[in-house]
């Protein structure tokens, strides 16, 4: 049985509840059967991928939903050496989807090679129309600078045979020349009211009774992330039904764990406590929670628990150490340094207030 997130994903432009305006515009755009290179950007869970799939479906029909996962080695001849990379792609007869960031530092060659390959195997429609394939690139913000440079010219050269749809959450990391060659579509996160509307719609289709107060808590928990809201609702359904008025939405394990770390930091500031926190951070990293996510979540959890006077300093430290984390090699150093800094700061503040 599919998850609700997939089950109730709108697959045509007419069924969109949020981003109705974008859907209408895109519908007009593809009415001619053609569209320019496009870049979708916006926060996670806002509906970027849903829009992309609906766009593909509007052009090619249901065929695009028959996808197969392929892992095949690509052999690329470079002037200086031969390169072989293993790459997992998701493709249908009409499009191909990949995460270029998976390939690491060779991404520039891979992206160019794939586009050339697509151009070679250009499909011919019976009426000679629709002679292009679509390449969907996820997470282009993680594409290296060189790969983006290479894209500039490739995008123009092969534009008749291959259209690019790019998806990213951090548009600052996509360079200006690439952006200016695309139709940029900003996908904002749905408002709380819209998330509520979707939740109620899903509840109705599943024949559930959704109490107002409980739904509001789920919306609040999701923080304008639709995917999170739906997943959370489904988990809650599995846990307890009918929904209790006082039922709390189940938070993810790692979130609870980070909240606990924040509590530890605020409870006691000592080397011993630092040691305890350190082991918890290790635990989080060992479970593959991305370090920048830990840093962000921890900062917001800390902000909830501290006085206004020291909030700004805490955020400054977070910003400073998060940047070092990106530039550095080992995440644990910077996370720990941040915790130590905050502890010392909190302690100084408490002493100055005469509380400790």
């Amino acid at each position: 049985m599919p998850l609700w997130v997939d089950k109730y994903r709108p697959n045509s432009f007419d069924k969109f509840v949020v981003h109705k305006d974008i859907a209408d515009n895109l519908k007009k755009l593809v009415a001619t059967g053609d569209f320019p290179h496009t870049l979708f950007y916006g926060p996670p869970g806002a509906g970027k991928k849903t829009l992309v799939m609906a766009l593909l479906r509007a052009i090619y029909g249901a065929g695009v939903e028959k996808v197969r996962v392929e892992t095949k080695p690509w052999k690329i001849d470079l002037p200086s050496r031969k390169l072989e990379v293993e790459l997992t792609t998701l493709s249908s007869n009409h499009h191909l989807e990949l995460n270029p960031a998976d390939v690491g530092s060779n991404d520039r060659y891979v992206v160019q090679e794939i586009i050339k390959e697509m151009a070679r195997s250009r499909p011919m429609g019976a009426d000679g129309s629709r002679g292009f394939k679509v390449l969907v690139l996820n997470e282009v913000d993680r594409l290296s600078k060189e790969a983006q440079q290479g894209l500039r010219r490739t995008m123009e050269k092969y534009s008749s045979a291959c259209r690019l749809i790019m998806v990213c959450s951090n548009v600052s990391k996509v360079m200006e020349p690439v952006r200016s060659r695309c139709l940029c579509v900003r996908v904002a996160a749905p408002s709380d009211a819209q998330v509520m509307e979707v939740l109620q719609g899903v509840a109705k289709k599943e024949n559930l009774v959704l109490p107002e107060a409980f739904a509001a808590r789920v919306v609040d928990y999701a923080g304008r992330n639709l995917r999170r809201a739906l997943l959370c609702l489904e988990v809650c359904r599995a846990q307890q039904y009918p929904f209790g008025d006082s039922q709390e939405p189940q938070r993810a394990d790692w979130e609870l764990y980070i909240a606990e770390v924040a509590k530890n930091i605020m409870d006691e500031q000592s080397p011993k406590q630092l040691y305890l926190v350190r082991s918890k951070l290790y635990e989080l990293l060992a479970n593959c929670v991305p370090p920048e996510l830990i840093m962000r979540q921890l900062t917001f959890e800390l902000l909830k628990r501290m006085d206004d006077e020291i909030k700004l300093e805490t955020v400054s430290y977070a910003a400073q150490f998060e940047q070092r984390l990106q530039e550095g090699a080992k995440a644990i150093f910077h996370l720990e340094a941040f915790v130590a800094r905050v502890m010392s700061n909190v302690k100084t503040y408490l002493v100055s207030c005469g509380l400790a």
Binding site: R152, C184, A189, M295, T299, L303, L312, A319, Q326
Partner: protein
């Protein structure tokens, strides 16, 4: 609607069609009459017509057919290390010219256009010095760059330099209206002003933005669509953020800032764009505060911009920078 980019479609065909660069155009037109050209160096901000001028010169000298063999254009996406300069450029520069075609001046030299020359390495530029002189009888070089300071002095001194200036809003409006008329696009109220504000003198950007907006809006372009496709943050959002930065008392609490920032992140705006517009907003609304306080705020903005470029988290940086700006403005 054709998918050909309008920037290509409406690229000027003659040097005299290039908008707003009178000094450059006059000098070049005279040079073209005698068909005697020095080496050229065009510099100036993006979207002011440098590449267009170079291509127009080529077209006027050789005509569309002969252009293919007489002109070599290399830009930053092509491989342009020192070995390319040594082999490809030298090979092209050294070949003799073919027979002229009637109807065009066809002077007895070729044109080598090096676009985005400021991204060439110093070594590659140095390797060009002697090549330029040796083959000057059969080849003229055109360097195009944004920053003339990145071209090494020995190369710059071998060229006639031309500076391209950012386009005035009125000139830009004329071009935009011309394109709208040809493409039968209608402009909503305020769209033209928004377009010139968004592009800041960059005609290519203005045309690209216009085309994207026209595609989305199906032939009608209004202000909101323009703001959206250009990636600009809505002015209301920025002004309310700036107000929160200036606020004192209960409205200036950290929680208020945090809420604003989280909203901006959820709306999907690019943090760097927010910084850019916040800076403009802070500078324009000089609220009688001393300049020194503004200095602190601007320093914070600069730091955040750097951090974002090296890949730091948008939410944390934005929250930090607004907090810093607030603190700087509140300082006595």
């Amino acid at each position: 609607m054709s998918t050909q980019p309008w920037v290509e479609k409406y690229r000027p065909k003659n040097v005299s069609e290039v908008a707003y660069q009178e000094e450059v155009v006059n000098t070049l037109t005279r040079a073209l009459e005698t068909a005697n050209l020095p080496h050229l160096l065009f510099y100036g901000p993006p979207g002011t017509g440098k590449t267009s001028t170079a291509l127009a010169i080529a077209r006027q000298l050789y005509g569309p057919e002969l252009m293919k063999s007489r002109v070599l254009e290399l830009n930053a996406s092509d491989e342009r290390g020192i070995h390319v300069v040594r082999e490809k450029v030298k090979a092209f520069a050294a070949t003799a010219v073919g027979a002229p075609v009637p109807g065009y001046p066809c002077p007895p030299y070729k044109l080598l256009i090096l676009d985005e020359a400021d991204s060439m390495t110093q070594d590659a530029q140095n390797a060009l010095r002697r090549t330029m002189e040796t083959y000057s009888r059969v080849t003229r070089f055109v360097f195009i760059c944004n920053y003339v300071s990145r071209i090494i002095e020995p190369l710059a001194s071998r060229c006639a330099k031309f500076r391209f200036k950012p386009l005035q809003p009125a000139i830009m409006a004329g071009r935009i209206e011309h394109i709208c008329e040809r493409e039968s696009v209608t402009l909503g109220p305020g769209a033209l002003d928004t377009l010139s504000a968004v592009s800041g003198g960059d005609l290519r950007r203005a045309i690209n933005t216009l085309q994207s907006a026209a595609r989305l809006g199906g032939g009608h372009v209004d202000r909101a669509t323009l703001l959206d496709v250009s990636g600009q943050v809505a002015p209301e959002v920025v002004s309310s953020l700036a107000a929160a930065c200036r606020a004192t008392g209960a409205a200036g609490r950290f929680g208020a800032l945090q809420k604003q920032v989280q909203n901006i992140i959820a709306e999907g705006y690019a943090a760097q764009q927010v910084l850019l517009q916040l800076q403009a907003e802070l500078l324009s609304g000089a609220d009688g505060g001393s300049d020194l306080r503004l200095c602190g705020a601007l320093e914070a903005l600069a730091g955040a911009d750097y951090s974002l470029v090296v890949g730091a988290d948008e939410a944390l940086q934005l929250l930090n920078v607004t907090g810093q700006v607030h603190a700087a403005l509140a300082a006595a």
